[in-house]
Symmetry: D2
Subunit: 349 residues, 4 copies
Amino acid sequence: MIGIGIVGYGYWGPNLVRNFASNDSSRVIGVSDLDAAKLSACTRRHPEISTTSNFAELLRNPRVDAIAIATPVHTHFELALAALNAGKHVLVEKPLAQTSDQVRRLVDEADRRGLTLMVDHTFLYTPAVQKICELILQDQLGEIFYYDSTRSSLGLFQSDVNVIWDLAVHDLSIIQYLLDEDPIAVSATGSSHVTGSPENMAHITLFFESKCVAHVSVNWLSPIKVRQTFVGGSKKMIVYDDLEPTEKIKVYDKGITLNAQAENAHQFRIGYRAGDMWAPHISTKEALQSEVEHFVECVSTGASPISNGLSGLRVIEVLEAASRSIADHGAPVRLKQQRPISERVRAIA
Amino acid sequence: MIGIGIVGYGYWGPNLVRNFASNDSSRVIGVSDLDAAKLSACTRRHPEISTTSNFAELLRNPRVDAIAIATPVHTHFELALAALNAGKHVLVEKPLAQTSDQVRRLVDEADRRGLTLMVDHTFLYTPAVQKICELILQDQLGEIFYYDSTRSSLGLFQSDVNVIWDLAVHDLSIIQYLLDEDPIAVSATGSSHVTGSPENMAHITLFFESKCVAHVSVNWLSPIKVRQTFVGGSKKMIVYDDLEPTEKIKVYDKGITLNAQAENAHQFRIGYRAGDMWAPHISTKEALQSEVEHFVECVSTGASPISNGLSGLRVIEVLEAASRSIADHGAPVRLKQQRPISERVRAIA
Amino acid sequence: MIGIGIVGYGYWGPNLVRNFASNDSSRVIGVSDLDAAKLSACTRRHPEISTTSNFAELLRNPRVDAIAIATPVHTHFELALAALNAGKHVLVEKPLAQTSDQVRRLVDEADRRGLTLMVDHTFLYTPAVQKICELILQDQLGEIFYYDSTRSSLGLFQSDVNVIWDLAVHDLSIIQYLLDEDPIAVSATGSSHVTGSPENMAHITLFFESKCVAHVSVNWLSPIKVRQTFVGGSKKMIVYDDLEPTEKIKVYDKGITLNAQAENAHQFRIGYRAGDMWAPHISTKEALQSEVEHFVECVSTGASPISNGLSGLRVIEVLEAASRSIADHGAPVRLKQQRPISERVRAIA
Amino acid sequence: MIGIGIVGYGYWGPNLVRNFASNDSSRVIGVSDLDAAKLSACTRRHPEISTTSNFAELLRNPRVDAIAIATPVHTHFELALAALNAGKHVLVEKPLAQTSDQVRRLVDEADRRGLTLMVDHTFLYTPAVQKICELILQDQLGEIFYYDSTRSSLGLFQSDVNVIWDLAVHDLSIIQYLLDEDPIAVSATGSSHVTGSPENMAHITLFFESKCVAHVSVNWLSPIKVRQTFVGGSKKMIVYDDLEPTEKIKVYDKGITLNAQAENAHQFRIGYRAGDMWAPHISTKEALQSEVEHFVECVSTGASPISNGLSGLRVIEVLEAASRSIADHGAPVRLKQQRPISERVRAIA
């Protein structure tokens, strides 16, 4: 039984408490928040959980094995570092921290102490993304040619971060989860339509060593909500629409065929295949429930989470590179490769 | 009554012949093609139209006032130049020619001789694009923030041109028709998933002096056909789906509101408006019929067409710049401004 | 301030408690349920509300002005009658009772005592149905030609009632709310695909004195969920899709035009109008919140609710007639007219 | 090589001529029409085909083996009978004739002479309906529970026939093609919203001996076009949307499961299965091309067509019964069983 302390009981914290509390292998020991009203809301819903306005109490409590952090982004680094220093495993809401330097320090600290550091990239734990990953691992798509995603709606302009830190972060975490390789460079463009406000619309292209390319389009100023991703492979192609109530994933047995001609390698004729479409049944299990199970499992066994610190780091490195490219009107920014692909973790324990 | 000679009776030529033949103010004098079988097909359908395998005969015929060219792209420049030199008005299938230098020579020649030079950017003459233009000219959208378009499907890989010359050309012509300003720079990325084949997938961002931005996504390797354009304005926003049988254009009375605060110009609160959606009735008139009427009218009155030589030139300049940017992984390429906006023609005569 | 007692804290009761508790003009005095576990769930969420397993306590409590009943259908009659006899106003979950005879006794009792009797036809209080009613009252649709509705999905087979008492009841309440007249006869067909189970699929036609016709199709055994209603008028027509997240109502400016010819009244030529489509913005206010406000208002002022006892009676009479017609393979069953249309109440107070 | 004579070159005739002309096993000998303008249109398109305004010439021509009739409905009987009497095989546009008595005489005459009599129920030859039939014959759906279809749009009010003779006829032919049994009774309701005009909206229920039920909803006064059919089986269910450009058929692996309990046959618990959805690739072959091939094959081999005279008769008997039920406000009308199911023909030769 893993003892959990949760910091922050605002928007996301209650979901963490609810899921850790209903998980058979974890127990919520205490909740910390600076706001007394939020603590009493917690007490009303979960009378058995103690609360405190002093985060340090959780760190001192030997029954707390792990800390889940759901506070504003600018506090992530300091809180996570303190928790690691106190010997606690850590789960942090995305993004892991404000800079890649901060994340590197957290990753090093967790490594040094042999503690689990996991970032809450919730989309990876949705049944839809899990199903796409499963299809890719079964090689049903063939060689992956592209990932092309649009994530837009009207609203939730934020004043401190731009649209890529808010929305593209989801796609970047999915891309690195699904693909076998890391991007080597990024080109991005963005624009702000409100004077003095950060970019509310952006387009990001990720380049890879292989033929694969990824593109992410994000927009806070769209008349309709769009959550649509195309994954194109040499064998099959997927359309993933997260707004569909049931058929979120459609797998198309479509593609091109190449008929090489002997006399000239450069000549070819392209043919087209059009086969069946198939929408696999997608479980309706709550993503956060799977994520909490995975975190508890990793803490118990020492396994590395699929959204471990390194994956959180890579997402932030890409966001930083994309921000530089945006400032430069699309000029490509190279990404350094920082981890062997073999360290990639894909299976939920 | 304007006499028309048509060169090329392959895929598009028959449509030109049919529309010029049924237009009250034009008469098709002759059709030229190198393929005798195509000429007899023409004779069967239009026994009253004479045919020839010698293009020069059309040029020599004094009853021919204008030449419409529907031949392969690499012949456009030579044929159009010969027609202008023979004193004929000219309508050319898109793209006008293979390079901007060629187009400039055609534009100059037409100008010098006072002849009409028009490029067949058919989409401009669709009732849907005409309706969007009308809404913009009525200032129903307010300040235009963005144009964001996706044009993809499976198929029609071409071996001589890449996907932007095939598909993005439509959006580039629409963008310059709808917007009040020319782009000042372009950033584009593209990739080929078939070795030895030109790019089959590309994303283009156009930058403008104003806050406006345009983005075009094109893909020959998509499992489903998409023809969707978002136009975002400060007052209203449009979703234009060309695959919808009837409600191609949806106008959303949605957007953000800014509540400036006196003490600090940098502070503002963003509010959201969500009003009605409205799908104006769209005529089902064939685009080419409107286009042919417009060409005949311009030839008769000397008015400049909405898709005149300069607009064809600008489209090709953007395609050339986008190609350079693609080769450079998104690095921005500046576009020179070549014409005063006042020369823009928007109303169909 | 109206004091409310709520009977039944199962599926629907908690929603009633929450909405009456947050309403400014009502106070929840007590909740009654036979199940102690449910009562303690209530206490945990609403510590300020007293609970009892003895319904009679609520009736004896002078601070209780009105009783809301959310118990199984077979208890509705007895509980509602007791409440009326105790001088309490009553709100009952649909259907009001098991037979029209029972409902008539409740209506008479409420009338005799001058008490408010309201049935919880929640759909009438949805912003979508309110908007359709508003458009009809503004005569935007013209003469109403038809109401044609499909309500189907997979699941929730019930063992005690058939599909029309479960699903068609919604449409029957909407029909009588929207239309200016009562049906005069009903023809219905139904079938059961599970031996020993009540009908899981049915089609009902309602006949009116006028040209208007209503049709309701319901199905518990559909592969996909459908909630779609067409309302056709002489001027405009509506498609109402309750599953659409935002554009639930689409108003089509379409229809036919009749060109009478003088010489012969029987000859006419029918023309077709195809105009704009318009999707009015629909509020997202919770239907039950509006309903609770309306009940409290009616109790306070003595006004008749839009879903008063008579309207609940009429719905049950139609259900009973439809059941007889189903048993007779569609043979029409006449409905007696029981109330002057002038007693119809349409405006939410 | 089968020689074909075609009567009527109006709306449908040209399609028959084109398809018989391009079929390798048939040759169009002549076309007859009373309108000289139509005949010259035919000559222009098909100079090799002789034309006549005298139908009798086709009958006398020994090179004509079969007659295809595409004239107004009231002429079908007389023309078809004359053709059969002249020893010609016959293909007639739907409906076969105006009354079941007429059809019976044609069926008898064809039988007596051993000639092929086929009705042009084009929908049976669409790749979509062929695919559904294939799935049923493979027993992929299990026991068929229902067929429920909606066919509506705005327009094409007809003055001589009502909406069921115009639209429901398609569904009735599909139903008898797909199902293993004939309906035993019909209940139908209909209404006319234009004084003096036939019914423009109708709903038909077909009853079968088994649990199966069929329902058809047709409407000439709908704001949007709908062509949607649900086929529910004990194993799988189909949604067939004829307006979908590519995924016309969706097969849902969904349904209910019954858990019988030993002690009481009347008690059961219903469970729900929700599995994958699958959209088989549908050929884009023109239905009329398949139909013409089938007719030619049946004429050549003496095989009975899937849309033979008996199937045309059954459709008209159901239409007549439905008309009587409509006049009687839904009262059921029994259908007599006129043919052993073993005579049913399902496979396209």
